[in-house]
């Protein structure tokens, strides 16, 4: 194949406009495929990283759950650890800066190993009642640093009727799930939140429960819900994995969209490159016939055509895929992202590019092969 490289090179630059246009179309198409692949990988990752052995116990109908549930749930065989979660939502300075604190305690860190919080930060949080830990995204956006006092305007009133919560930043952290500087997670002390709010004291919005065997998730979830089914605050329990799946499908059927668009893009490109190759081969019918008369084999000609096609498609496709993936990484939108490069999507994309190149050169190659030499020479 390498000995044909000069021939291939000359071949693709025979009509530079056509080659450049074709490569541009491939670039555009594969940029889109790269974007789709990265988005798909992000969703997959969000699902896969949700543990099967952590149950979320939420309020089925929004009624806050009494803390007393903690002990009742912990008593169920197979449940090994529990932590309460409450939410304090509000905004910083302006309503267009919403922020949302998870009020919990130090047991929370064992459920969320992805939070890169140092022991010193954990200690400071425990020592500072109104202390909060914030993700790097918020810290960068508002210029917060450790030691800052920040006012949070919240519809959740304090017991004195004040809607401004003064919180002290005791640490800024990243997570292993987000690119550095983009972590959005925030947390505060449950004890401080519960003591100071006007709402129903001694309640949480939900709990997290770790179970010893993931296979028991469905059974234990059922037992927990049965425990409180006839109470004033029924629960809704499922594994974090199932919860993520429910949330993702709530966005609509993303897979159908991604696959549909990818199919349309590939179909379009196949047509375009196939046509380019056909034209190019058609125009050179007599050239190829001459080469055959000079002793080139039919498969040599085929190899040259495939080489030309690959050289037009592959570099453009690879650049497009990388640009597409990068676009997703840089996007300011808040959707699940995989911090690792989506190798699967890139591999599938390169494979698709090779297939597009092979298919689009096979038809003209086959036509050349079938054409009697004497006729082709006369073209």
């Amino acid at each position: 194949m390498t000995k044909f490289l000069p021939l291939i090179w000359v071949g693709i630059w025979r009509k530079p406009t056509r080659t450049v246009l074709t490569a541009l179309a491939v670039l555009a198409g594969f940029t889109l495929l790269g974007t789709l692949g990265a988005v798909d990988a992000g969703f997959r990752h969000a699902r896969d990283r949700s543990p099967l052995d952590v149950l979320q116990v939420d309020a089925r109908f929004g009624t806050p759950l009494p803390l007393a549930y903690l002990e009742q749930i912990a008593a169920i065989p197979g449940v090994t650890a529990m932590v309460p979660r409450a939410f304090l939502g509000g905004f910083y300075q302006q309503p267009r800066n919403p922020i949302f604190f998870v009020a919990t305690d130090e047991r929370f860190f064992s459920f969320r190993p992805e939070l890169l919080v140092s022991d010193a930060q954990k200690r400071r949080l425990a020592e500072t009642p109104n202390g909060v830990l914030v993700g790097t995204s918020h810290a960068n956006k508002y210029g917060w640093k450790t030691g800052d006092q920040i006012p949070l305007q919240s519809p959740t009133l304090q017991k004195n009727g004040d809607k401004t919560w003064m919180l002290e930043i005791v640490g800024v952290f990243d997570t292993t799930f987000d690119p550095p500087g983009t972590a959005r997670f925030t947390m505060m002390n449950y004890s401080y939140f519960d003591e100071n709010r006007s709402g129903p004291r001694g309640t949480a919005n939900g709990f997290m429960a770790r179970i010893s065997n993931p296979d028991d998730a469905v059974r234990i979830s059922g037992e927990i819900d049965a425990l409180f089914a006839n109470s004033g605050a029924p629960t809704r329990t499922m594994s974090e994995r199932t919860s993520t799946e429910n949330n993702l499908q709530g966005l609509g059927n993303i897979n159908v969209l991604i696959n549909g668009v990818a199919a349309a893009v590939l179909f379009m490109l196949l047509f375009l490159t196939g046509n380019t190759m056909s034209q190019s081969a058609q125009e050179r019918m007599s050239e190829f016939a001459t080469m055959k008369a000079m002793g080139f084999e039919g498969r040599d000609i085929t190899a040259i055509l495939i080489g030309e096609s690959l050289m037009q498609c592959l570099p453009a496709a690879i650049i497009g895929l990388l640009v597409g993936v990068k676009l997703v990484v840089l996007s300011p939108q808040n959707f699940p992202r995989d911090i690792n490069p989506p190798w699967l999507a890139i591999t599938v994309g390169v494979l698709a590019a090779v297939i597009v190149a092979l298919v689009s050169s096979s038809l003209p190659a086959w036509r050349l092969e079938r054409r009697p030499l004497t006729e082709a020479l006369r073209d």
Binding site: T17, R18, L21, T22, L24, A25, A28, G29, T31, L32, T35, R60, F61, G62, T63, P155, A229, N230, G232, P234, R236, M238, T242, E245, N246, Q249, G250, L251, G252, N253, L257, G260, V261, A264, V265, F267, M268, L269, F271, L272, N275, T276, S278, Q279
Partner: protein, 389 residues
Amino acid sequence: MSFLANLFTVAGIGLRSLPQRKATSSVIVIGMACVVGVVVSVMSLSTGFLASASAAAKPDRAIVRARGAIGLGSSVLPRDNALTVMDAPGVKRDAQGVPIAAPNFYASVPLTKKDDGLEAFLVTEGITPREFILRPEIKLVEGRMFEPAVHEVIVGRAAQGEFVGLEIGATVSLPEGEWKIVGVFTSTGGIGESALLGDVDTLLAAFRRPQYSTVGVQLESAAAFDTFKAALTSNPSLQIDVQRESEFVASQAEGLLRFLKTIALALGTIMGLGALVGALNTMYVAVGTRTQEIATLRAIGFSPLTVVVSVFAEALALAVAGALIGGTVAWAAFDGRAHTIGGSVFNLSVTPGLVALGVGMACVVGLLGGLFPAIRAARMPIVDALRAT
């Protein structure tokens, strides 16, 4: 006149020779069909959702929520406020002089979906008998009406199709145990039927909520909205937001519509660029193969402009044909198909407006794709071109 006649002649010759360039021409058609097919399909979500959400929304009905509440479920409207709102000026009254207005309570209930077995939230709405006078589009079509003070609800036809276990006689888990489904209602289809309806006070008690969520009122006329709003907003004891039903629906749908529009725009732009490049390629080939024909036309006196226009005409015709094919395929595949986002069921809708959008995109691609090839055709030195083989 003679210029126009010439134009038609040249464009006609060009278009009639199209069948000889089937393969290359089809690149524009297929490319454009793919772009328009994708964009129209994505946008059909948006038009379908909006159509379904606004089907029952009227400009002469208003909805009153607690100030700053997002959506309906988070609104908490004190009872005395609700009474003041229902009695406000601008509200239509029936023959007995009673205002046509009704309080509502909104909550959501997790239920299992039929198609994927996952859970989604279905709206549960507490209503009073007045609701059926306020919203005559709600009709009981099967079974009987729920009774107050007992655990009974009626279910919307669309919700019944979407979720498991909502047949008459079945029960759903609501607070305080199982509630029996005793009837089925229809409304304007889709989102309006994605709900359970029950007695407002019974539901409030079960959910342990003392307050209504919202109040809906029938206005004397669409124009009476200003009177109604002015009366309420000037009352310092009310902490409320007042919106026409139609405006409320539009504001609620805004986020989703913007999201879908962004996706459609991104897909349309990138795929459109691909199609444009394909179109350029095709039109260069077209001009190339018509070299002698164009030169002959020029030699016998046709102006360069007519040649330019004929190239444009060809590019446009191909692109528009592609757009129509793409639009038709999207229509055949998706129009009327049921879709859920969250717990709301609606039908995708491929409207003539969307197909027109596709044709508009095709015109842009056709014109831009024809531009450079047309200039090349018009600039061709006649003598050389005539000699070209």
